[in-house]
């Protein structure tokens, strides 16, 4: 299975994980400052900034796009509870 590395820049921790893993499955366990509310893509609490490897994440769904828009999320922002890693190198941090 393809592996990816995801770096949580706020705590300087890089995790190797298989493709398909959601960022929520990793970030809490390593203690990143990305925080969660509903955990199901509705509330926008877990908006994070993707600083590298945008294309190494699954594309946002229509619903995620809507939540990002309504929360006036900035460029290269995603919901950590929705984004899944695909491969390669990804770097993220809390907004």
């Amino acid at each position: 299975m393809a592996k990816a590395t995801i770096t949580f820049e706020d705590i300087n921790v890089t995790v190797t994980a298989p493709a398909g893993t959601r960022i929520i499955e990793i970030s809490e366990k390593v203690g990143s400052g990305i925080t969660y509310g509903c955990r199901e893509g509705d509330c926008g609490t877990c908006i994070m900034k993707v600083t590298e490897g945008w294309n190494n994440l699954t594309e946002p769904s229509v619903l995620e796009d809507k939540v990002l828009r309504e929360n006036m999320a900035g460029k290269h922002n995603r919901l950590a509870c929705q984004a899944q890693i695909l491969g390669g190198v990804i770097k993220v941090k809390p907004v």
């Binding site: 705590i11 890089t14 995790v15 400052g33 925080t35 309504e70």
Partner: protein
Amino acid sequence: MIRQPLFNANGLPQAIALSERVHWVGALDPTLRTFDIILKTANGTTYNAYVVRGSEGVAVIDTVKQNFADEFFARLESVARYDEIKVIVLNHLEPDHTGALPELMRRAPKACVFISQKAQAMLKALLKQDEFEFTPVLTGDTVSLGDRQLEFLHTPYLHWPDTQCTYLPEEKILFSGDVFGCHFCDNRLFNDEVGDFRFSFEYYYAHIMRPFKDYVARALSLIEPLLPLTAILPAHGPLLRDQPQRYVQRYRELTGNALPSEISGNEKTLLIFFISSYGNTKRMAEAIFDGAAGVDNVRVSLYDLEGSEVAPFVDLIEDADAILFGTPTINGDAVKPVWDLLSSLTVINLKSKLGGVFGSYGWSGEGVRMVEDRLRGLKLRVPFPGLRIKLIPTDEEIQQCRQFGQDIAEDLVGIRPARIIDIAELG
């Protein structure tokens, strides 16, 4: 000044004039004693709604709780016809301000609803329908009523994501929503006529606005340039026409720290709270304290929860950078004093503070994991798995505790080396 009666000669509710073009059309709820479960009120509350008349139409700003709709509509009808209503502004969608909205939309079908950008999904959920018109607005957006104009200020999270303020520049009046509000019902309405409501104002801020201090500060940076205002008209409590700037100043003061800071700018604060039945969790706490205290630029404090009320700790925690909880497990749970403190923390912002848990246990030790989950739920980051030790800690386990404290302190000051780990190691 002649006091205007809230009811006309026939006993019908009537609007109260704030100026020739601005009227209060809200409702009084003097017998309310508990609001939203979490707030007490000795004086009931008011649901404040307003009408602004321009040369080309009328705006209604907010409505009231549903069971007070009759009073609201009667007051509204005393100053405007439904076919004149061009604009409905919702500064906040909570049901105590939108309870009369569906009926108002039915009676004033020409009106366009103006809500904040973040209110859109909420409004649909509230009305349980998708087929209606509304306009999402942000700071700088305006709507014209002819010779009166409404300007919108995007002030989210005061105290819901959807909140906004609306400004009437021609009269220098701010319709502030829940900001600057309080639960205090006095039929004299105006802050220069009602009884002493200072306690209610402070209490309301402490329970409703304090968790969102950062957002309050951002909102004030939009509101302060509007000073001097002739009035601040909140959605609850007295109408602030006398020295409204005093309330803006007080909010600015309240966005500061509850306690004066005692540490230098480059230090981080770590608070360790514990409670112990046989002294084992206490020994862990002391060893964690030792480990953390050895790290430069970390000010560590140790508190036995058995020896204090909860409330003073809330102020300390608000200012702290990291908090640890030590709890034994009794009957499969963390102990009540720990839960009591944790359940008191919803009035402050804990987002991204560092948290951690430890504790001694007899046979199953669930308490530590439960508190870890609670800390994550409170939006703390928990970078180290909780430290659990069965009954009496050995010397080796005491050393583990010291290392736990040191790791946390090093993480706090950002001197832990970069780590590369495999997801399988995370458990």
